[in-house]
Symmetry: C2
Subunit: 307 residues, 2 copies
Amino acid sequence: MSGQTERAAWIAVDWGTSNLRLWRMGPSGEVLGEARSDRGMGTLKPEGFEPVLLDLIANDLLENGRLTVIACGMVGARQGWQEARYVAVPATPPGISQALKVDTSDPRLSVHILPGMSQASPADVMRGEETQIAGFLSAEPAFDGVLCLPGTHCKWAHISAGEVVSFRTFMTGEIFALLSGQSVLRHSVAASGFDTEAFTAAVSHVMSRPQALAGDLFSIRAETLLSGLDAVQARSRLSGMLIGAELAAARPYWLGQEIVILGEGGLAGAYRTALAAQGAPARTVDAARLTLMGLTAAWRALAEGAQ
Amino acid sequence: MSGQTERAAWIAVDWGTSNLRLWRMGPSGEVLGEARSDRGMGTLKPEGFEPVLLDLIANDLLENGRLTVIACGMVGARQGWQEARYVAVPATPPGISQALKVDTSDPRLSVHILPGMSQASPADVMRGEETQIAGFLSAEPAFDGVLCLPGTHCKWAHISAGEVVSFRTFMTGEIFALLSGQSVLRHSVAASGFDTEAFTAAVSHVMSRPQALAGDLFSIRAETLLSGLDAVQARSRLSGMLIGAELAAARPYWLGQEIVILGEGGLAGAYRTALAAQGAPARTVDAARLTLMGLTAAWRALAEGAQ
């Protein structure tokens, strides 16, 4: 960065398992700059986090005084920098008052890690999504309904009166990646492409007969061998079967609720298509800015508290 | 092999995707010797099969005349040596009269590949298991009931009047390997060990609520993080959830039927335990010899036909 760059008032970090994303923020919540790095939690030992951070914000550090950094995600896991213990639901998404203040070696840093959320029964945890939810609620504080956060591990969260009442995690994205990329189905399934008809047919089939799923998976391979099933149809059917199984399990969440999908692109579209086919219309909100909005809400609370 | 070795009357081969197993057979069906190789179908191009076979049976070849080789498994797949097309159910397991006679370069070889079986609806295929079933039926020709063949891809086959009436394939073993070895659950699941109580509880839970499976998988990870779930219990629960989902889907097969599990060791035991907990007692037959028995039945038919 050049010496001309305006110095950041504070730093926002979304520090996940594989990557981190960092924003250099101005005093009114505006973004001055952005950085990405592949030094995710999974690549670092506890003593490795501070040097990575210092390297990314070298030009923003003050000679005297501390630069505020607010982070969320797996950085706060037990295997992360320092553990930020889960906040149990029902609760508002954790804010700055529940953040872990990290013991840093460098006195110029003031690092706060936002905790994840936990649920005792059924057992569940989230780290990072709670800050997306906080970001969403900062824009729609009166929202009452269910949020769906598609991804490797899709989260469904029931929101009421500003609180996360309950939530469930589904490994749908991870299972799809393993089955389509590494199981025998990899010979049948295209690497990309989407056939809406094949997808929605599979969603409906699995939702009406969820107990049949285990037997239907291999049929994708068999149909390829016996009747030349198209690879894009195969991919769409596999996606529909797994998302259908998720919707069947998550039915108590979305049935009769206002549904908002926090996500963009193809995956969020697939969930919306699947829900629409079940007579459950959903609204989609671009999730790209939500984490930063959640971190900014925490920073504003910190700034107000400091006045 | 030494020159003292008795020359084989014929050769039996179980040629799978990853490995091959070969038996040097005497004129009365006795085993003279055995060989294993990692030159499975997946490692070979079509022109690669004959040299591998010749190498393994060099001392058995006749100077004049042909040595009979009877093979089953993925060697007969489209990507194998030469394609032995599926026999559609309902049908008796394919015998020598349906075998593919391979065009070999070496005139001293007479190679027969037994076909697999197929089912139009629901679409399904098997290659190799049909010969195990033939072996089982050679010992119990009057069997009427259902056979369960656990493995990477578990097969359930309904048998009546000597025929395979219908069958289904479940990817349970492969999915278990992917989830326990490569998904986020790998951090929770022990590499070995079996807790019967955790297993049967998971089987019963999933069978009574198969639609909940997609939501219950991640709970294994969450319980590890929140309450230190034991890793052997975690492994047993994951196994029980997946086998429970299979039993729920396969219920039309086993309910009220005589059930025989063709398999040995822990996996066959797990299926027997799961079925017993559902009030469905199953008999176990050691599957180690069944493929050879099936190949031998084909050879006897060939020998009789030649007389």
